[in-house]
C-alpha cells in the first residue's frame, strides 16, 4: 500500500527526472547537430499547417476509398490541401473553408455529417436506442419485482421465507 505522502512525491520525482533527462537530451543535441543540419519542417508555416491538418482529419478525401484529407496523398487531396492552405493564408476561418468545400462537394466531404432532415435519424438514433434499452431494463426490473410481490406476504415475512428457502432451492422461490 502506498502512503499518501509517498504517492504525492513519487510523480514529482519522476517529473524532475524527466526534466533532467530532457535537459541532458538538449545538451546532447548541441554537439550532434553541429556537423549535421536540423531537418526543416515540411510546411513553411508549421502553425498554419497544424491548423490545416486538424481540420483535414475531419474531411474526406473524395477520390480515396476511406481516407481523410489529412492522410491521403492522392492528387486531389494534395490539391485540396494546397487550396485550403492558400485560403487559410488569406485569412479564411475554418468555417469558411468548410463552407467552401461543402458548396463544392456536398456533405460527403464531412466526416461529421451536419444535422439536417436526412441525418436526423443518424444523430438521434443512439439516444433512441438508449432510451429503448433503458425502458426495457426498467420494465424487466419492474416485472421481476411484480413477480416477487405477487406472493401475498409482508416484506419482512417474504424476506424471511426467502432466506429459509434461499440455500436449498433458490430458483423455486421465484
Amino acid at each position: 500500500m502506498i502512503t499518501p505522502t509517498a504517492a504525492r512525491t513519487m510523480p514529482e520525482r519522476l517529473r524532475i527526472c524527466v526534466r533532467l533527462l530532457l535537459a541532458a537530451a538538449l545538451l546532447a543535441l548541441v554537439p550532434l547537430s553541429a556537423p549535421a543540419k536540423t531537418a526543416m519542417p515540411l510546411a513553411a508555416d508549421p502553425v498554419l499547417e497544424e491548423r490545416l491538418m486538424t481540420l483535414a482529419t475531419g474531411l474526406r478525401c473524395l477520390v480515396c476509398q476511406n481516407q481523410s484529407l489529412a492522410e491521403s496523398n492522392a492528387e486531389l487531396a494534395v490539391d485540396l490541401r494546397n487550396e485550403i492552405r492558400e485560403q487559410m493564408r488569406r485569412g479564411a476561418s475554418d468555417r469558411d473553408v468548410v463552407d467552401y468545400l461543402v458548396a463544392r462537394y456536398g456533405d460527403f466531404v464531412l466526416y461529421r455529417p451536419p444535422l439536417k432532415a436526412s441525418t436526423l435519424l443518424l444523430w438521434s438514433g443512439p439516444a433512441i436506442l438508449l432510451l429503448l434499452g433503458l425502458g426495457f431494463l426498467v420494465r424487466t426490473l419492474r416485472r421481476r419485482r411484480a413477480q416477487i410481490t405477487q406472493i401475498p406476504l409482508s416484506a419482512a415475512a417474504r424476506a424471511r421465507a426467502q432466506e429459509l428457502l434461499g440455500t436449498g432451492s433458490a430458483e423455486e422461490a421465484s
Partner: protein, 666 residues
C-alpha cells in the same frame, strides 16, 4: 484436373451439408437415434471434402495455375510463397471458402467435444450448422465459384493488393473468421435449445465455453487487424472507424454482451430469452460483417468484390437466418421461464445494464456504418460518417459500462446494497482518483481527457484488486495465501484478467492520444530532427530490391542523450507497374513508447518528406486486447465445464424445477 476435383469435392460437401441439415433435425424431432447419428458422420465428411477443395485451391496458388480465373486475378508468379497462400483468402471467393472450411472445422469440433450432451441436442446443433453450411456452400457454388477456368490461361496473373502482402494477411482473416464462424455455434446451440423447448441452465453451460472461444478468436482478430493497420498503413493510427473495422467490431460488442448474459443464464437461470436473442443477433451481425466486407457495398480500403447477385443471395440468406430464428423465438417465447428472481440492485441487474449499454453501442455503430449506404440507396444524398460521429456516440455509452466493470463483480447475486458496495469500494475509488490526478503530471502536463481515461482504467484495476483482496479475506479455505488464491476458479481469474485487459487498453489509448508527438519534415542525408526526446538522423538512402518490389530505404539512426538507441529502416516500395509507391513504416517497438518513422513523398532525388512519431504506451492497446483474449481462454478451461454436466439426463435436475417454478410464477 486438380481444380475440378476441388470443385467436385465442394459439390459433394454441399450434398453432405444438406444431409446434415435435414436428417439429424428430423431424427431429433421423431426420436430416431439412427437419423440423429447422421449428423456426426456427415459433419466429418463435409469437413473432409471442403478441406480437399481448399487444398486444391491452395495448390493452384502455390503452382501458379493461372488457368483459374481466381488465381489469375489475385496472384502472380513474383509473389512470395507465403503471400500466394494468403492470397487464397485475399478476395471474395477464397475467403468464402475459408469461411465454410472453418465452419466445417467448428462442426467437427462439436462432434468431438459433445459426449456429455444428449444425442438429441447434439443432433439439433449439427442440423442447424449443416443448414448454415449448406447456405454458404450454395452461395459459393452458384455465385462465387473459385474454381472457374480462364481459357486460354494468361501467362501471368494480376497482383495481390500490395497492402495485403504482409504477415497480417496470413493471420488476421483466419482469426477473424474463426470468431465470426464460431458464433454460429452459439447460434446453433440457441436454436437447438429453442427447438427442444428446453432453455435451461444446462444449455447455457454447454454453450458458454464455445461462445467464449469464439469471442477469444474474434478479439484476437480485431486486435490483429488494428495492429496491422497501425504498422502497415503508415499513418500511425490504430483504429479508423472504417466500415470494415466496424464490421468486425459490431459482432464483437454483441458477443461481449452475449458472454456476460450467458453468465447470468448459467449461474442464475435468468435472461434466457435475452441470451437467445443475443446469440441470434451476434451471429447475424457476423453474417452482416461478412456481407459488408465481401459484397463490395462499401467503398473502403478492404473491400474488393462487386457483384449484385451475391448481394441479393446474402440478403436473402440473412433474411432466412434472422427471420427464421426470430420466428422460432417468437413461437417459443411463452415457454421461456423467467428464471431466478433478483432485485433491482443486484449483480444480475448490473449485468443487464451492461448488456443494454453494449447492445446500444453495437446498434449505434451499426447505424453509423449502414446509414450512408441506406441514404445513398434511397437517393437521399451522400454523407460520410466517420470518426467524429463514432467517438461522440461510443465514448459516452462505454464510460458507464467501464464504471460498471468495477462494481458488477463486487455486487452479490440476487440482491446487493448500494451503501455496502460503496463502503467496500471506497478505497479502490480513492486510489483510482489519486492515480488519475497524478498520472497526467508524471507524463508531462495536465489534460482533462487523459485524467478521465486514466480514472476509468485505474478504477477497473483497483476495484478488481479490491474484489480479489476481499475474496482472500473471506475465503473459507484454511492455509496460506497461495492455497486461498488457488481456491478461486479459473473463470474468476479469467474474468479479472480480461477486465484488467480493458483497463490496460484504455490506459494505452488515453496516453497515446494525450502525449504522442510527431513532426513532418523534409530530410536529406545527414539531416537530424528531434521528436519526443529522441534524435533522428537520416544516414543514407539506398535502393533495395525485394522479391517483387524495389524499395527506397532510409537508414535512420536514433540517439537519445547522445547514446545510440537503434537504427530504423523506413521504406517506400514500388511494386511492379503500380504507380503509387507503398509506404512501409519503420517501427522501433517498446513497452514504454514506439518510435514510428514513415516516408512520404520524394521531394527531390536526395530529399524525402518524413513523418516521425513518438507514441508513448501505444502498445498497451494490443497488450490489453491480448489480456482480454487470454482471460477468455482461461475461463474456458474452468473445471466446471468438464464435470457435472450430466445433470440434464436426470429428470429431477434443477433445470426442470426451474422451468416449473418460472411457469408457476406466471
Amino acid at each position: 484436373m486438380i481444380p475440378e476435383l476441388g470443385h467436385f469435392a465442394l459439390i459433394l460437401a454441399l450434398a453432405l451439408a444438406l444431409a446434415q441439415g435435414v436428417f439429424p433435425l428430423i431424427g431429433a424431432a421423431r426420436g430416431t437415434l439412427v437419423w440423429m447419428h447422421v449428423g456426426r458422420t456427415t459433419a466429418l465428411g463435409q469437413f473432409l471434402f471442403i478441406a480437399i477443395a481448399f487444398g486444391t485451391l491452395t495448390y493452384a496458388f502455390v503452382v501458379n495455375d493461372f488457368s483459374l480465373l481466381y488465381v489469375a486475378s489475385n496472384s502472380n508468379s513474383d509473389l512470395p510463397l507465403q503471400f500466394r497462400i494468403a492470397a487464397v483468402w485475399g478476395s471474395h471467393e477464397g475467403s468464402m471458402l475459408l469461411w465454410v472450411l472453418i465452419l466445417a472445422g467448428w462442426t467437427v469440433a462439436i462432434t468431438r467435444f459433445s459426449h456429455h450432451m444428449p444425442e438429441e441436442f447434439v443432433a439439433r446443433v449439427l442440423g442447424v450448422m449443416g443448414l448454415v453450411s449448406a447456405g454458404f456452400l450454395a452461395f459459393l457454388l452458384f455465385t462465387s465459384n473459385p474454381f472457374l477456368r480462364l481459357i486460354p490461361a494468361p501467362p501471368e496473373g494480376r497482383s495481390l493488393n500490395p497492402l495485403l502482402q504482409d504477415w497480417g494477411m496470413l493471420l488476421h482473416p483466419p482469426m477473424l473468421y474463426m470468431g465470426y464462424v464460431g458464433f454460429s455455434v452459439a447460434f446453433a446451440f440457441a436454436i437447438a435449445a429453442l427447438l427442444s423447448g428446453r432453455l435451461d441452465t444446462a444449455w447455457a453451460r454447454w454453450s458458454r465455453p464455445w461462445t467464449t472461444v469464439a469471442w477469444v478468436f474474434l478479439s484476437l482478430g480485431v486486435a490483429l487487424g488494428s495492429l496491422w493497420a497501425y504498422y502497415e498503413l503508415g499513418w500511425g493510427g490504430w483504429w479508423f472507424w472504417d466500415p470494415v473495422e466496424n464490421a468486425s467490431f459490431i459482432p464483437w460488442l454483441a458477443g461481449t454482451a452475449l458472454i456476460h448474459s450467458l453468465a447470468v443464464t448459467e449461474r442464475r437461470g435468468a435472461f434466457k430469452g435475452w441470451t437467445v436473442l443475443l446469440a441470434i443477433s451476434t451471429f447475424s451481425l457476423s453474417l452482416v460483417g461478412t456481407f459488408l466486407v465481401r459484397s463490395g457495398v462499401l467503398t473502403s480500403v478492404h473491400a474488393f468484390a462487386t457483384d449484385p447477385a451475391r448481394g441479393a443471395f446474402v440478403l436473402v440468406f440473412l433474411g432466412i437466418v434472422v427471420g427464421g430464428a426470430l420466428l422460432l423465438f417468437a413461437s417459443r417465447a411463452h415457454r421461456i421461464g423467467l428464471g431466478g428472481s433478483f432485485d433491482p440492485v443486484s449483480r444480475e441487474s448490473m449485468l443487464l445494464l451492461n448488456n443494454v449499454l453494449l447492445a446500444v453501442a453495437a446498434g449505434s455503430v451499426l447505424l453509423g456504418t449502414l446509414y450512408p449506404l441506406v441514404l445513398d440507396a434511397l437517393g437521399a444524398g451522400k454523407v460520410s460518417v466517420g470518426r467524429p460521429y463514432f467517438e461522440a456516440v461510443f465514448i459516452p455509452l462505454m464510460t458507464p459500462a467501464m464504471f460498471l466493470i468495477g462494481v458488477g463483480p463486487m455486487a452479490h447475486w440476487k440482491k446487493t446494497s448500494l451503501p455496502d458496495l460503496a463502503t467496500r469500494l471506497r478505497w479502490a475509488f480513492a486510489v483510482g482518483l489519486v492515480t488519475a490526478l497524478l498520472v497526467p503530471f508524471a507524463m508531462g502536463g495536465w489534460s482533462t481527457p487523459v485524467s478521465l481515461g486514466i480514472l476509468l482504467a485505474a478504477w477497473i484495476v483497483t476495484s478488481s484488486l479490491a474484489g480479489l483482496i476481499e475474496r482472500l479475506r473471506l475465503s473459507p479455505v484454511s492455509g496460506g495465501i497461495l492455497a486461498k488464491l488457488g481456491a478461486n476458479s479459473r473463470s474468476y481469474y479469467g474474468m479479472q484478467l480480461a477486465h484488467i485487459g480493458v483497463a490496460v487498453f484504455i490506459a494505452g489509448a488515453t496516453l497515446v492520444l494525450g502525449y504522442e508527438s510527431d513532426k513532418e519534415v523534409r530530410m536529406s542525408v545527414g539531416d537530424t530532427i528531434e521528436v519526443g526526446g529522441y534524435n533522428f538522423r537520416l544516414d543514407r538512402i539506398s535502393e533495395v530490391p525485394g522479391p517483387n518490389y524495389i524499395a527506397s530505404r532510409g537508414d535512420v539512426s536514433v540517439t537519445r542523450d547522445g547514446r545510440a538507441v537503434t537504427t530504423m529502416f523506413p521504406e517506400k516500395r514500388t511494386y511492379g507497374d503500380k504507380k503509387n509507391p507503398m509506404t512501409e513504416a519503420a517501427i522501433d517497438w517498446g513497452f514504454v513508447r514506439d518510435l514510428y518513422v514513415s516516408f512520404g513523398e520524394r521531394l527531390d532525388p536526395n530529399t524525402w518528406a518524413v513523418r516521425i512519431y513518438h507514441k508513448p504506451f501505444v502498445e498497451l492497446i494490443w497488450v490489453g486486447w491480448l489480456m482480454m483474449s487470454l482471460g477468455g481462454l482461461l475461463a474456458v478451461f474452468d473445471r466446471r465445464y468438464r464435470v457435472a454436466v450430466n445433470k440434464w439426463h436426470a429428470p429431477s435436475s434443477a433445470s426442470l424445477l426451474l422451468g416449473a417454478g418460472a411457469a408457476g410464477a406466471r
